[in-house]
Amino acid sequence: MNNLIRTEWLKIRKYKAFWWIIGLTALSYPGISYIFHNIYDSFTNRTGQAAQLIKSLIGNPFTFPEVWHTLAFSSSLFVFIPSVVVIMFITNEYTFKTNRQNIIDGWSRNEFMASKFIDVLLVSLLVTLLYIIICIVTGFTTEGGSGEIWGMAYYAGLFSLQTFSQLSIAFLVGFLLRKAFMALGIFIFYFIVLEPILVGLAKWKANDIGEFLPLEISDRLIPMPAFMGRIDKEAYEKALASINIHILYTVILTSLIWWICFRVNNRRDM
C-alpha cells in the first residue's frame, strides 16, 4: 500500500498539468461559492419590500448549518473539473505505455489498478477537503444562522461519496477508451448535456426512471438547497427521504465500476 502511494506520488509530484487542474479546482470551488453568495446578496440587500420578502422566505443559505448543504449542491455541479485529472491519470498510462512498464517492472495487474483507485480516492478527498474549508470560511464570515456549526456537516460525507462515485465513472470512461480527448469529450458531454436531458425526460415521461442513470444515482445524495425546496415543498421532502436509498445505490454502482476495472484489467492484453 505504501509502495503504491509512494510510486503514484513520484508520478504526479512533477506533473504540471495535475497541479494546474488542482489549482483551477481550488480557485473554482470558492469562486462558485462567491458567485452564489453574491447573487443572494444582490437580491436580499435591496431595501424594497420584495427583497425583504425573499429574505424572509428563503432565509440565508450561507449561514451554519445550511451552508454545508448549499455549498455541497453548488460544488457538485463542477465535478467535471477534477474529472479531467482523473481521466488523464489513466489515459496517460496508455499514451506512454507505462501501464505495460509498471507490470514489466514488477507490479501485479491488481496493484496497478489499486494504485489508480488510490489516485481517484485521493483526488476525491482533496476536493472534499477544499469543500470543507470553503464551508467553514463561508459559514464563519456570514452573519446569522442558528449557531449549529456542525449541524449539517454530514453533507461533507455525502459530497465525498458523490465525488468519488462520479470521478470513478470518469475513470471508467478513460480506462475503457484509453484516449484522453475522446474520454474527456464523452464524459463532459454526458455530464453536462446528455444525462440532465435524459433525467428531465424521464421525470416528464418515464416515471422518473432517470434516477438510476449513473451520475443521477449519486446526484440525488445532495438534493437542491432548502431555499429552492420551498418552491415545491413536496418534491423537496421526497428528495430528502430518498437520500438513504441513494447512498446504497451509489455504493453498489461505485463498487461495480471498480469491479469492472479490476476484472477487465486482469483479463485484457496490455
Partner: protein, 298 residues
C-alpha cells in the same frame, strides 16, 4: 546447466491470427540467448507473454522453476519493444519509479546506471526532449538498475547510431562475462552472431530451431581449398564430396561434407597423393545470416 526460463507449448492468437504456435524451449543460466526471426515472427509477442503483458491462449512458462509472478519479474531487468517512460519526468525521476516498483537497487544506483548508458549529463532533462537513441539508452539503463541476474532485451540497439550499437554490444558482452543471463530478441543477425551463445529462430509463430549457436549455425562442413589448377583440385575433391563447386572470384574450390566429417589434414594428404598441391585450405562456418535465410525461406 539449470534453466532460467522454461517455455512450454506457448500458443497465442490475435483474433484469428495465430502469432505463436506451440513454442517450447529452455534458456540456460548464464547464456546470452538470441530470439531471432523476421518481422511478425512472434518475438515480441513471446517476450510480452513471459513478462505478463500479454496472456497466452495456451501453454505455460516458468522463471527459475516457478510460475511467472510479480515477484519473479522484479528480479528481471526488461526492455520490451519501445522505451516506456513518463514524458514529463526527467531521466532520473523515471528511474526512481522503476526503482520504486521493482525494488531493484537503491537511489544511488540510479546515477550509476545513467553514467553507464551515457545519460548522466542529461539526467535532469525531461524524457520528451530525448532523441530516439537516448530514449533507448535510458530503457537499457532502467533494465540494468540493481544489476539483475536476468535481462530481457527486445531489440536493444533500436534507434542507436553505430557507436551506440557498439557500446550496447560491449555492455552485453561484459554482462555475459559477469555471469548474467541475457534474453535478447533481434532481427539484426550480425548483432546476435557477435554476442549470443544460444539462439532460437522463429518464423510466423513457429519455432524452427533452437540450441547452441555453434550447433544451429553449423549443419554441414564447408571446406575451402585452393591450388594452381582449380579444375584438377575440383576433380580430386569430387572423390570425397558430391557437392563441389569452383568459386572463380576467390579462385577456390568449395566442397561440402557432412557435419563433423571434414578432417583438414586428411584432405591435404589425399590431395597431395593425387598430385595436387594445396596453397589454401580452410574449414568455413556458415554465417548466421546464410543459415537464417536458409531456415526462414524454407
Amino acid at each position: 546447466m539449470s534453466s532460467v526460463l522454461s517455455i512450454q507449448n506457448i500458443t497465442k492468437y490475435y483474433g484469428s491470427v495465430r502469432a505463436l504456435n506451440n513454442v517450447s524451449f529452455d534458456i540456460p543460466e548464464g547464456s546470452v540467448f538470441g530470439i531471432l526471426g523476421p518481422n511478425g515472427s512472434g518475438k515480441t509477442t513471446l517476450l510480452s507473454i513471459i513478462l505478463d503483458v500479454l496472456k497466452a491462449n495456451n501453454g505455460t512458462f516458468s522463471w527459475f522453476g516457478h510460475p511467472g509472478s510479480p515477484e519473479q519479474r522484479k528480479k528481471i531487468g526488461s526492455l520490451l519493444e519501445t522505451p516506456n517512460f513518463y514524458h514529463y519526468l526527467s531521466a532520473s525521476d523515471n528511474l526512481k519509479i522503476t526503482q520504486a516498483i521493482s525494488g531493484r537497487g537503491v537511489t544511488s544506483d540510479i546515477d550509476k546506471v545513467l553514467m553507464k548508458v551515457n545519460l548522466y549529463e542529461r539526467r535532469k532533462s525531461s524524457f520528451k526532449t530525448f532523441s530516439l537513441g537516448m530514449k533507448q539508452r535510458l530503457a537499457v539503463g532502467a533494465a540494468l538498475l540493481g544489476e539483475p541476474q536476468v535481462l530481457v532485451l527486445d531489440e536493444p540497439t533500436n534507434g542507436l547510431d553505430p557507436v551506440g550499437i557498439a557500446e550496447i554490444r560491449q555492455l552485453i558482452i561484459e554482462l555475459r562475462d559477469q555471469g548474467h543471463t541475457i534474453i535478447m530478441a533481434s532481427h539484426l543477425l550480425d548483432e546476435v552472431e557477435k554476442v549470443c551463445t544460444h539462439v532460437a529462430i522463429l518464423k510466423t509463430g513457429n519455432l524452427l530451431t533452437t540450441g547452441d549457436v555453434e550447433e544451429v549455425l553449423v549443419d554441414e562442413d564447408v571446406v575451402e581449398a585452393g591450388a594452381a589448377d582449380l579444375d584438377a583440385l575440383s576433380s580430386v575433391l569430387q572423390q570425397i564430396s558430391k557437392n563441389v563447386s569452383i568459386d572463380t572470384a576467390s579462385k577456390t574450390v568449395h566442397a561440402v561434407l557432412p557435419k563433423g566429417t571434414a578432417k583438414l589434414d586428411e584432405i591435404n594428404s589425399f590431395c597431395f597423393q593425387k598430385g595436387v598441391v594445396l596453397n589454401h585450405l580452410l574449414l568455413k562456418k556458415k554465417r548466421l545470416e546464410a543459415r537464417f535465410f536458409e531456415l526462414t525461406n524454407n
